[in-house]
Symmetry: C2
Subunit: 244 residues, 2 copies
DNA sequence: CGTAAAATTGACTGACTTCAAATTCGGTGG
DNA sequence: CCACCGAATTTGAAGTCAGTCAATTTTACG
């Protein structure tokens, strides 16, 4: 993505909106005529799975992430998007985004790639839910959260805010909150994590990564590309949210 | 996607290759300079999750599916693709596919949408692995396999070939083969499924769908669009594999 | 037929869940 | 600054779904 592409993305028509904490932003089954970039705060994707209403959290969105590109192209959303904290979002008409994508292959390819990275993260989640035990699953989750916090400029991989309750974590990990509590305590007494309120520090990131079999490969992190004049274009955070 | 788009897709340079049963087609970590369409046979995506080598099967590919679009755009594959049966594939250079995608927005959008449908299926898998018990998970899997067999023209949703061993199913469902065996037997004695060798029939599809909380929403099946001259363009099976 | 792979069965174990209650935390108003 | 209250976390005890280990039977296929 060239700098010109970047500027074109920043020039897209948009409306800035605030989303209160806990609000359902898009609803399973809805048709979504717009595309949204998260500017600040955290959101999460979530799906009601069974008739009894058990839910699975599919992922957390960080500032810079595109929230509902899939929903716009696929006509109907297959999952809910909900605000974890108070959020600020930029809402872009799909049509404008799509025309840009096909006028500027650089930008189009970046959007497409972002969708594919999304898919890669869902694959890793499936692998985690299917084949890792609770302790390892949570270790993996914390490592991912750390790395993504770092990428989003919200802390370092070994010290970050985790604005989720143990109920949220349970629904993300396919576990009960009770077992999440015990697993967290376990990691804590092992010295692998230190918890204080909503913040997590990881004294030895590599040790936790080993417990969770975590590697960054599936995040497909592009090396920050320094364009001649020092503007960096990096995925998956497509745009610098602070510049919007 | 217009008929002209369709024809342009069919005109892409390509090489037809055979893949023997069980062969690893792309390997986790490899860079994949081409894009592959499965023409006949079944493949599956698979990921080695833990140090001890436990694996998670992420999905089965049917004829007409694009196998490794994500791998080409993301530089390195984050999972393996393996042949379930003997397969025939069409290999297309990525460059040719990408230029077509950006020259013809109709085709480009179709490719992009196919990637997004892929993502939707991984989300549903994650939901299944996280929040459904073994019986319901397997019921859901069989429903999906039926519907996709029907879409691919390989049978009906209630009678199809399932070219997987119980070991495969176990790795797809995040279970042990022993438990898959018992769960299948359970569905069988309940009369919800009938098994004979590698073929499955579902006497009452809706009943099984209810057990698995299965709905087709997440497959984002487009209504077959009849273009004026009767050519149908449908996703997710992007191209009619028989015409290649 | 004969053989290896796949499916099936049984007995036992364990990770995670369920239900129930106690404790701590965080924010708000007095 | 402190008392209060609901939410969140923590702990305990008992139950269950699914895993492990170990055969045995059936099936597929040369």
């Amino acid at each position: 993505m060239t700098e010109a592409d970047c500027l074109a993305v920043m020039d897209l028509p948009r409306a800035i909106r605030d989303v209160p904490r806990e609000a359902l932003f898009t609803r399973q089954g809805d048709s979504v005529p717009q595309c949204t970039v998260l500017l600040s705060g955290y959101m999460f994707r979530q799906k009601i799975v069974t008739r009894e209403g058990r839910r699975q959290i599919l992922g957390v969105q960080f500032p810079g992430d595109i929230i509902d590109l899939q929903n716009s192209l696929l006509h109907r959303s297959d999952h809910n998007v909900q605000a974890l904290t108070r959020c600020s979002v930029a809402v872009i008409p799909v049509d404008a985004l799509l025309s840009l994508a096909f006028e500027r292959p650089g930008a189009g390819r970046a959007f497409w790639t972002a969708s594919l990275v999304d898919g890669a993260m869902f694959r890793e989640l499936a692998a985690s839910l299917g084949r890792r035990d609770a302790r390892s699953r949570i270790a993996h989750f914390l490592c991912e959260f750390g790395v993504r916090s770092e990428l989003a400029g919200l802390g370092s991989r070994s010290a970050f805010e985790l604005p989720m309750t143990q109920d949220h974590i349970a629904d993300a990990m396919g576990l009960t909150p009770i077992h999440v509590n015990r697993s967290l305590r376990h990691l804590d007494t092992e010295g692998l994590i230190v918890r204080a309120s909503r913040s997590v520090t990881i004294p030895d990131f590599d040790a936790l990564a080993e417990v969770g079999d975590f590697t960054t490969g599936y995040l497909h992190i592009a090396a920050p590309q320094r364009s001649p004049d020092g503007v960096s274009a990096r995925l998956p955070s497509l745009v610098d949210s602070r510049a919007f």
